[in-house]
Symmetry: C2
Subunit: 436 residues, 2 copies
């Protein structure tokens, strides 16, 4: 971890310090993904099977997980794990339940009623990564808000394991979220199936969930073809920890490491008003790293990471706002009093007893969050992500009579005569009726 | 307008009938836009000036509109126009004011508090098209919700007229929305300025507003570079009118025409359970068309458009849900009773006295809406479009003690040991404190 002194730096140096590491050059990734998308679009299930054989080394007959497989998974998951998943699900549900919005109707002037109503996105696709890690927590984070939103069709896709099965924890989490359509397909080919539909897998209106570079590129390509909307752009995961002189370096180091172990491209940033804290945290990192199985991944992530020394906690928050972290941890005295100052962040963890892993799993907040500075303009997943809004307006005779002349004036200013005429003809009809 | 009989058609024919006309092939548009973006990124204001000279045939000295220009615009706009703009603004404000969301805090379990807070997107860019039409109504639709959201910096860009001025109605609308930074630049170069920033024009976090093919392509390119987020993907404007046998063909024709005059690529669709209505409406269209200055544009749009004959209003709504129109007009008996059945649409107009132009200008709803089927997964602009959500969590000692074991179990399942350790170290610290 490099140390950067905010005070003695120019604006340009500061901007450069907060720059995310460039993501890997796409190289021929775009072309490869485009080829996979085209193969699935024309080849359907058969293409999915052959791509799964090629990339996952699995020969599948049925793509959909059967109820027998769900039942077997349920048995193989121990009671402790099931209870932990159910506990997390309860907290996530409780927090997301409060997000269900209410419809609004407003009479903007007598006889003119405008309304905003929410509707679930009808068909949604949920991508859950496989590969080295198995992520049942992601199933909960996608499955619970989509259920609360009332989406009619929820399709979960996830890559099969080498033996052709799906991880039982994933299936158990899917059962808890009442997702009954799960397909054994991953990678760009899974995104293609959701965007275009195949014989087995229904086409969806919006695709959610994290994934590797292939999945991310596939999501971007299907979105740009307007084949399917996507949840948000993706970048490497990241944390920014603000620590004051009284923070516990053991906790700070543990939180930085729990982000660093995600992947070699993860970024961790420490911002502190205590130069001593930097030294203490670095020593702690070294000590804790020794005990971690994923130490080599974490070490790679730490190499690109940064400690920033500032003058005050307020300045640290300002630095954080400029960086716009996915996760922000405040290990400072009376952390909650800084809430209002936080302008750009995905999810925020307040005080010593709120590690990032609490929000990753079980506090109740969603862990699908904007990365790579997108927190300046995007929000994490919520029930809203699975809804859209429709506006309605109804004018009475009185309403169009009062508002009509305003519309006519504005349409005339804009030179849109048919817009004007649609009102004029109605006012005439009302006028002639009154004359009768 | 072609007539299509829903009843006697196969699912495939129906799908084909509802297909939007393909948008024009991009050809070298992408490359041209990329060139403009690169020129502005490296050349700043100087590049903006030379591109404005090239594309708008205007030599500008200052890019920003001065307070003198605002004052002159105010004078040149007549009282009638000003009052119409202010009237529309009041209705739009009233409807959008109700959209300001409230923060939520939930104790998901004792000692675990989760919160969702809204924050304005700090810096936003508002694009208002120029060219043939002058669109002060679009200024209101972007300016009012961004003001209500509390965005700190709102920058409006719009192409200059041939004499180097900005249309006075646009400036007057900007004044009403309290936008004080207006720049005389349009096209892809304006989007580049907002995405990268120049000496005069500040970089923004999200860009809003409609535009021509260059503007749309530029928005897509800056979004894919993660230089700036954008409001929504864009396609040609469209309306679907559902009319029953008792609808007034004069009103139906007027509403179809007021959409068709937008541009030659506009799409208008009539869905009715009365074959006779099709004939009546076509006759009315011919009659009204004769009086319209923009008849040639409307005629081109109508050539690609469609009448669909169905069995019932309920079936018409089902067809509309499949098409997912930007604007949906229900000219049927007791239109409001169908509201709940409408699943996919941008904005809906109920009954004979609610023409589309009411919502385009002054009813209170927003006219920046999802086109091209995007209404399946996107919403029209609202105050929410200018906000993002940040989640917060704070665990007390009691909270982490109760929830810690759940987090440890889930982290272990996922093989993320540092995530587990961040909790374990905290539980140990609490344990040893108690032992003391």
């Amino acid at each position: 971890m490099r140390t950067f002194f905010w005070k003695n730096s120019t604006d340009e140096q500061r901007l450069a310090a907060l720059q995310r590491p460039a993501t890997l050059a796409k190289g021929d990734l775009s072309a490869k993904v485009a080829e996979i998308l085209a193969a699935v679009k024309s080849g359907g299930d058969e293409a999915l099977r052959s791509l799964t054989a090629k990339f996952d080394q699995v020969e599948l007959s049925a793509l959909e997980v059967t109820s027998e497989e769900f039942a077997a998974a349920r048995k193989s998951v121990g009671q402790g794990a099931r209870e932990a998943l159910e506990h997390a699900a309860r907290n996530i549900e409780k927090f997301h339940l409060a997000q269900i919005p209410v419809n609004q109707a407003i009479e903007t002037q007598p006889g003119v009623t405008c309304e905003r109503q929410y509707r679930p996105i009808v068909r949604v696709g949920l991508y859950v990564p496989g590969g080295s890690a198995c992520l049942p927590s992601t199933v909960l984070m996608l499955g619970i808000p989509s259920r609360l939103a009332g989406c009619e069709l929820r399709v979960l896709v996830t890559p099969p394991r080498k033996d052709g099965s799906v991880d039982p924890f994933i299936l158990e989490a899917a059962r808890i979220c009442r997702i009954d359509k799960v397909f054994k397909v991953g990678g760009a080919q899974a995104i293609a199936a959701l965007a275009y539909g195949t014989e087995s897998i229904p086409k969806v209106d919006k695709i959610f969930g994290p994934g590797n570079a292939y999945v991310t590129e596939a999501k971007e390509q299907v979105a740009s073809q307007s084949a399917s909307a996507i949840d948000m752009p993706a970048g490497p995961s990241e944390v920014l920890v603000v620590a004051d002189a009284n923070a516990d370096p053991v906790f700070v180091a543990a939180d930085l490491l729990s982000q660093a172990e995600h992947g070699p491209d993860s970024q961790v940033v420490l911002v502190t008003d205590s130069e001593e804290m930097v030294t203490k945290v670095q020593a702690e990192i070294a000590a804790q790293l020794a005990t971690l199985p994923r130490a080599s991944i974490a070490t790679q992530a730490l190499e690109k990471s940064l400690s920033i020394v500032v003058n005050s906690v307020a300045e640290a928050i300002a630095v954080s706002n400029q960086y716009a972290p996915e996760h922000l941890i405040l290990q400072v005295d009376m952390a909650a009093r800084y809430k209002d100052r936080i302008l750009n962040a995905g999810s925020v963890f307040l005080g010593p007893w709120s590690p990032e892993s609490a929000g990753d799993y079980a506090s109740g907040t969603n862990h699908v969050l904007p990365t790579y500075g997108y927190a300046r303009s995007y929000s994490g997943l919520s029930v809203d992500s699975f809804l859209k809004q429709i506006t309605f307006q109804e004018l009475t005779e009185k309403g169009i009579k009062a508002l009509g002349p305003v519309i006519e004036t504005l349409a005339t200013i804009e030179g849109l005569d048919a817009h004007c005429q649609a009102v004029t003809l109605r006012l005439k009809a009302l006028g002639s009726r009154e004359t009768l």
